[in-house]
């Protein structure tokens, strides 16, 4: 059963449609019709339509049409039926039967042409590329060339249009060029021109037709006078021009003079309500700002080779971009005003001056710095640093932050080589901007610290680095060297210095987060931040290095060895060694200083005491000396050498070894003197026979012993012990290898001075050597008395003979002494007439030499004392004063 509601609605509509009655106009009639329809439709069961019946009827129609010579109808009907079959539903037969029942003499009445009118008007086919290109072919001259936007101004209308077209058609690729038959009517696409809009736009483009705006009549283009006369534009247009000019774009209002790179005002244009003078002033001010910014823009165009400069340029470009965006903000304010905004050139001027301030300063900085960049690549860094401090002093927060950020941005690439140097000890290739460079690549390891790398300096001695880095430069240098040193020590072990996070060097870290100016001066803040940054790398390297030096390389052991061997810290050992050497010296004549034997001796004696491995490094070297004979100086033939490991050699230089050896030589000579004196026994002296002579002998012995003891004490206690302990204390507290080397060098110098080994003291030293030689003389004088006891008896028999001899001696002494005096000044050649065999002459020689000795002693000691006192007064070392005093006591004793 059909649904009543739907059917009712549809019925209404159908009725309305057929009868043209609507419920509103003719209600009753409508209702009647409706009822009629409803009654008809309701109801009794109809059978379903027989579709074969329908088919048959349609075929009948077809036949009928054809028979009655209406083939067109028949064909059309057949065609439609075919189409209908494709989309037939289950209701199709019903519909067809309806139509058949409603059909009204189609043979006569139907017209195929009516079908045509049924078609809805076709929508116009879409525009294709072929049609456009057929209309306007894209082969205009020069249309495919790339456009130089900056070259021409927009005054040329033709170019403007060409540019428009080129811009429009260039980016789109050409579509297929297949020609299509356009069955379209081109006329229908012509849109009539809206003349008003075009006139408006033309009016806005004031730069094209300045003559048109003239209040007066038309003026010829080529008329010079006409060009000078003013043409009015609105303030908004002027503002736009100014904004474009500031952004560096070509405008009509300002002409760019490319030689001088500045903007000049085109005085043709004026404002209606402003006196031209004021306007000129304002525009020229803005033009000045624009000029500087334009120059800055042009400067950022060239590509600098060094990364430092590239960073600087990038920073400048970033700031320019920020400036551009603020200009864009201004522009948008005029283009899309959210709140009503007043158009004012003055206001624009104020604003522009406000945020262009920092950029202008940057521009002046660039102009100032650029010419000298090739000489001093850090000038711009220093200039930025200065400006930052200046801005802080002027309490200009914006400017300060601006410059501080630029400075820190530009600093980062400079820190890179520093970081690599301090962390890995490596230098980048050919880095001219870094102040460390490889001085001597193939320097040996022993001079690694001092020679391999050097600091680059200018001709005037200044460091090749920005001035704010000067304080820290040495530490940076030392850190890198420490790393290199450690790498050498560890050989193949890769050592890197990246222990903890390095503190960042950026604006927030240095100046804090606050918006206001920091209270401390920027140079201080930066200095401390930089120190912290360096310190994070430096301290680790130096501590590790010190540890390694102490533990692995055995720095202290070497120093101990030196102390014991050269400086006689353990007197017994030295005594043993000395005794052995002296015995050999006395017994053997020529080969007493045989290297190998002496080296064995040394190893044997010291090997027990020194740290393991140290004794083997000692070697006795034979050195030629021109001192022959019995002088103490003959001991210089024996030199103890030590083989310093390379790592320690950086601290204890090889040159200092010489001083050690000379000090040792000095000490050894004193020991020799003592040894010789000890050999002269009491009896020997007593055996001189002569009372006064023996007294003299005793006295001399006593004084000589005292002198040698004083000297020895002076050397071992005063000089060696105290200086060495000081030095070792300082060394353990030292920061880095430089400091250690410095401490050691100063120690050596002091040692040299105190031991009277330096050139200044050579007279005094020679005098002391002569003194020691006197000892040798003395010993010789007494040892040449093997027949002492024999001659003693002879002497004792004739007292008168002795007296006569004494007188003779005195006489002879008086005559001989002058000659002896002359020849004994140098003290090196102590020729004895040891050829005197006879006992009398022997005795005479002895007493002679004794007196001689006494005399020389009397001469030398005051000389030494005076010299020492003078030097100590001048130089200030109190040790000399002490030595002088003690020698003096010895001397003054003689009175008794």
């Amino acid at each position: 059963m059909p649904q009543p509601a739907q059917i009712g609605a549809l019925t209404d509509e159908l009725v309305a449609s057929i009868t043209n009655f609507s419920p509103s106009t003719n209600a009753q009639a409508f209702k009647h019709a409706k009822d009629l329809a409803a009654r008809g439709l309701r109801g009794y069961q109809y059978g379903r339509t027989n579709q074969f019946d329908v088919r048959a009827k349609l075929d009948g129609f077809d036949e009928k049409f054809r028979v009655l010579n209406r083939d067109d109808l028949a064909n059309a009907l057949l065609e439609r039926l075919k189409e209908l079959d494709k989309v037939s539903t289950k209701w199709t037969p019903e519909t067809l039967s309806l139509l058949l029942q409603l059909s009204d003499r189609p043979v006569e009445k139907s017209n195929v042409d009516d079908l045509e009118l049924l078609k809805p008007p076709q929508s116009p086919s879409p525009l294709t590329w072929a049609e456009i290109i057929a209309d306007d072919p894209l082969d205009e001259e020069g249309i495919w060339e790339s456009i130089d936007y900056a070259a021409e101004s927009s005054e040329d209308e033709k170019d403007y249009r060409k540019r428009e077209k080129a811009r429009a058609s260039e980016p789109t690729p050409s579509s297929s060029f297949t020609e299509e038959d356009s069955h379209l009517d081109p006329e229908s696409y012509v849109i009539p021109i809206q003349k008003d809009a075009l006139l408006d736009i033309r009016k806005e483009q004031f730069w094209r037709h300045p003559a048109e705006h003239q209040a007066g009549g038309a003026l010829a283009e080529g008329n010079h006078a006409a060009k000078k006369s003013a043409s009015e534009i609105t303030e908004l247009q002027m503002i736009r021009e100014v904004l474009f000019m500031l952004a560096g774009l070509p405008t009509t209002l300002y002409t760019i003079d490319t030689n001088l790179r500045e903007f000049k005002i085109n005085t043709v244009f004026t404002l209606g309500h402003v006196v031209s003078l004021t306007l000129d002033d304002l525009l020229s001010d803005l033009g000045g700002i624009g000029t500087q910014i334009y120059r800055l823009r042009k400067w950022t165009g060239n590509n600098p080779p060094i990364p430092l400069f590239q960073t600087f340029e990038a920073a400048v470009m970033k700031r320019l971009a920020q400036f551009d965006s603020s200009l864009a903000g201004l522009q948008s304010r005029y283009l899309n005003p959210e709140v009503p905004v007043s158009v004012s050139l003055l206001e624009l001027h104020n604003e522009v001056r406000g945020f262009a301030g920092p950029i202008l300063q940057l521009a002046t900085l660039v102009v100032a710095v650029m010419p000298t960049l090739s000489e001093n690549p850090f000038l711009y860094l220093e200039a930025l640093f200065e400006r930052t401090s200046l801005a802080q002093m002027m309490s200009d927060v914006g400017l300060f932050q601006f410059f501080a950020r630029i400075f820190l941005d530009c600093l980062q690439p400079y820190l890179k080589p520093i970081r690599i140097w301090m962390e890995h000890g490596e230098l980048g290739p050919d880095n001219e901007t870094f102040f460390v460079f490889m001085n001597d690549k193939s320097s040996e390891a022993a001079s690694l610290w001092h020679d391999r790398y050097a600091i680059r300096r200018h001709l005037n001695g200044e460091l090749h680095a920005p001035n704010f880095l000067h304080p820290a430069a040495l530490r940076i240098f030392n850190t890198g060297k420490s790393i290199v040193f450690l790498k050498e020590l560890a050989n193949h072990h890769k050592y890197t210095n990246i222990a903890q996070d390095e503190p960042r060097l950026d604006f927030e870290t240095i100046c804090g987060e606050a918006e206001s100016l920091p209270f401390a001066p920027f140079s201080e803040l930066f200095g401390s931040a930089f120190e912290a940054w360096i310190g994070s790398k430096f301290s680790l390297a130096s501590t590790v290095l010190r540890q390694k030096l102490s533990s692995e390389c055995g720095l202290w052991e070497v120093l101990d060895t030196f102390r014991i061997v050269y400086l006689g810290a353990d007197g017994s050992l030295l005594q043993d060694f000395a005794d052995l050497v002296f015995e050999r010296m006395d017994e053997l004549d020529s080969n007493w200083n045989d290297r190998y034997l002496l080296t064995e001796l040394v190893h044997g004696i010291y090997g027990a005491v020194l740290a393991p491995g140290q004794a083997e490094r000692l070697v006795i070297r034979r050195s030629t000396t021109k001192h022959r004979g019995r002088s103490v100086k003959g001991l210089s033939a024996v030199v103890v050498d030590y083989n310093i490991p390379w790592s320690i050699a950086n601290i204890i230089q090889k040159s200092s070894l010489q001083i050690y050896q000379r000090a040792f030589g000095f000490l050894l000579k004193v020991y020799r003197a003592k040894y010789l004196l000890q050999k002269v026994s009491w009896n020997d002296i007593q055996g001189l026979g002569d009372d006064s002579l023996s007294r003299l002998g005793l006295k001399m012995r006593h004084r000589l012993i005292w002198s040698t003891d004083v000297l020895r004490t002076y050397l071992t206690e005063t000089v060696f012990a105290s200086s060495t302990s000081q030095m070792e204390e300082a060394l353990s507290a030292a920061d880095d290898i430089d400091a250690m080397a410095g401490i050691h060098t100063s120690y050596i110098t002091r040692l040299q001075d105190l031991c009277l080994l330096s050139k200044n003291f050579s007279p005094i030293y020679q005098a002391i050597m002569s003194l020691l030689d006197l000892v040798v003389d003395f010993a010789d004088a007494h040892s040449r008395r093997p027949n002492a006891s024999a001659s003693l008896a002879k002497v004792q028999t004739s007292q008168q003979k002795r007296d006569a001899r004494r007188r003779k001696l005195r006489d002879r002494r008086r005559s001989i002494i002058p000659t002896r005096q002359n020849s004994s000044d140098d003290g090196s050649e102590d020729e004895y007439d040891g050829d005197a065999e006879s006992s009398t002459s022997h005795d005479a020689a002895t007493s002679e030499s004794l007196y001689k000795i006494q005399e020389q002693f009397d001469r030398l000691v005051p000389f030494v004392v005076a010299g020492l006192k003078g030097v100590s007064r001048a130089g200030g070392e109190s040790a000399w004063e002490m030595l002088a005093e003690r020698l003096d006591w010895n001397f003054k004793v003689r009175c008794s």
Partner: protein, 73 residues
């Protein structure tokens, strides 16, 4: 979309039917035809419907129109 396709398809059917109706000179305009089709699809008997339409046409003859298609019933 199937919705659009259905409508598209339905419209095509109506088009074809309208053409056939024109050929057979049934004096039905498109709208009327669409109402008839809807009624039939809702189960109305076509014979009855045809009878009703004929009755209505007799009872309420339509006024003269300028267009050729519609004639006076």
């Amino acid at each position: 979309m199937p919705e659009v396709d259905k409508r598209q398809a339905a419209r095509e059917v109506i088009d074809i039917l309208h053409e056939i109706a024109t050929l057979l000179n049934t004096h039905l305009n498109r709208q009327q035809l669409s109402y008839c089709v809807s009624l039939i699809e809702n189960g109305v008997n076509p014979e009855a419907l045809a009878k009703v339409i004929k009755e209505l046409r007799i009872q309420y003859p339509e006024p003269e129109e300028e267009e050729d298609e519609e004639e006076e019933g």
